[in-house]
Symmetry: C2
Subunit: 309 residues, 2 copies
């Protein structure tokens, strides 16, 4: 089984979307460049959603136009309805993500549709994308727990996966949107979908709310998953709600993977420089769980070098 | 395979031993009681070592005498030479731990013997304990990396395990003393020893220096390991060396295990009360990685209860 793992950086979208401090287009592009410099080659870069609902994403078109478009960099844009899809097409997006939540209440909160209507709407959009030759990434969001309805049966995840694959989705990402998963659950869910469809089309989208994102990622990896969403510095969640952490930090995930012999093509030191950029932009202390240790090692090395000189 | 996991709390020894603020006997016993109240039933309670080298452990005899000795609570005492063993026997210990490091330099730093001499000394002590009807826990320390000699071959871990088992050791704990392990390495080491001797006699002793203790624990668990050392609040490491974290925090490990359907018999809320005791005793902010989230949930519940009243 391959040791190559694709890291899909979602800090520019999932990470920034709920930050109180508005980050202008040039700041977002600066962060994107810092991540590219660190070796990141896949991004969920923007969402085309209502600028009223999500002011940080009002810059989506500008950001998309400003990104360095190169063959070796993979960019996706999140769309949650037809209007968003149209805007993504106008911007020239070649990959769109869509997030179908696992429950009625979560879909209602997110897009004001119940699960059945949301399913029908996304099926239609996926088919349209197929016709347009656009790649689609179907997210089963709140797949490991819903803030409104609680536990989500594995059968629901399988059903929504099948629905999107049948409509023509190219990839499926199983999302622990609120960070309520535990590793046994991750193992069970990924084992189930991998058995049905193979590992190659699946990704995992994990949040670190309860500090279990790394063991969850490890459990998914052991089931053959080789694509993970993550967010630089653990950006995301709500900075004003203690304990509500964001996505698994890219630097933590990359560190664990590289240490364990997996290949991400990404440099942890470069990621920590990107964390610095993100901190300046959002005006908050960020950073995953390995930051403190990493910086202490760098200080040690610098001291040793100074003493040797 | 059993879902029961034994948590061996080492905060009173490994956690406190390098704390700058001296914790008197009554403080240590208060912390022990808080942990018992939370449901902890196994402790490495003290080490019988030179009070000059480790002043915190100068209270070992007093602490041992003050612990609530009950059939359902398992206490071990660390000894590193014959003198320590004699003191443990004088105190009435029924279980002793011994730490044989994997390299010459680590043994020299720890007990001023090279690997061969250290091995011979511990073999002699284990045999003596066997004759005395005392249970022995043999630790292969720095089994996953040595601060002086770097990488440690799996073969060395197997060899030292065999040496101690042949001498009559009852349990073997494989220790990532400096927290340098990654989950692939944990998996490989535990798979190797479990294949040879079965999982039942093995425990894992993990440190969280590089934030990988939970995925490492998960990897060990998946190989059948059902006994883990951990330290309340992540006590240990050096509080004055940024980045040098202590043992995996008991509350994090218990939370992950209980969430995943394993049974520890321990209550996370009770552990967080014990963290409060430990913080007061050592005068430092402590707490594992789930603390912030857990407390935010408790605040939410309290607010909801107040509004309902």
């Amino acid at each position: 089984m391959t040791k190559k793992v694709l890291i899909n950086e979602v800090g520019l979208r999932d990470g920034l979307q709920i930050q109180q401090k508005f980050v202008p287009t040039e700041g977002k592009l600066e962060l994107g460049q810092a991540l590219i410099d660190a070796g990141v080659r896949a991004f969920e870069a923007v969402s085309f959603v209502s600028p009223k609902a999500v002011p940080q994403m009002s810059t989506a078109g500008e950001v998309w136009a400003g990104l360095p478009m190169k063959d070796e960099i993979y960019y996706s844009a999140l769309v949650l309805n037809e209007k968003g899809y149209d805007r993504a097409m106008d911007s020239g997006a070649k990959v769109v993500s869509m997030a179908l939540a696992s429950t009625n209440k979560m879909n209602e909160a997110n897009i004001r549709l119940d699960l059945e209507s949301a399913s029908a709407m996304f099926v239609k959009l996926i088919k349209r994308a197929k016709d347009d030759g656009v790649e689609t990434r179907g997210y089963v969001s709140t797949a490991m727990g819903c803030p409104y309805e609680g536990d989500v049966p594995v059968e629901t995840v399988v059903e929504l996966t099948k629905l999107m694959l049948d409509a023509g989705a190219d990839k499926i990402s199983i999302a622990d949107t609120i960070g309520s998963a535990h590793p046994e659950q991750c193992k069970r869910i990924f084992a189930t979908v991998v058995e049905k469809w193979g590992a190659d089309i699946f990704g995992a989208h994990l949040h670190d709310t309860r500090a279990l994102a790394l063991p969850n990622a490890w459990a998914a990896l052991e089931e053959g998953i080789r694509e993970f969403d993550s967010s630089i510095g653990g950006l995301g969640g709500c900075p004003f709600a203690p304990g509500a952490k964001g996505n698994v930090a890219t630097e933590d995930l990359v560190f664990m993977l590289e240490q364990s012999g997996y290949e991400t093509g990404i440099d942890v030191g470069g990621l920590l420089r990107a964390v610095g950029v993100a901190e300046r932009l959002v005006g908050l202390k960020l950073g995953g769980r390995i930051t403190e240790w990493w910086l202490s090692q760098e200080r040690k090395k610098a001291k040793a070098a100074a003493e040797a000189a």
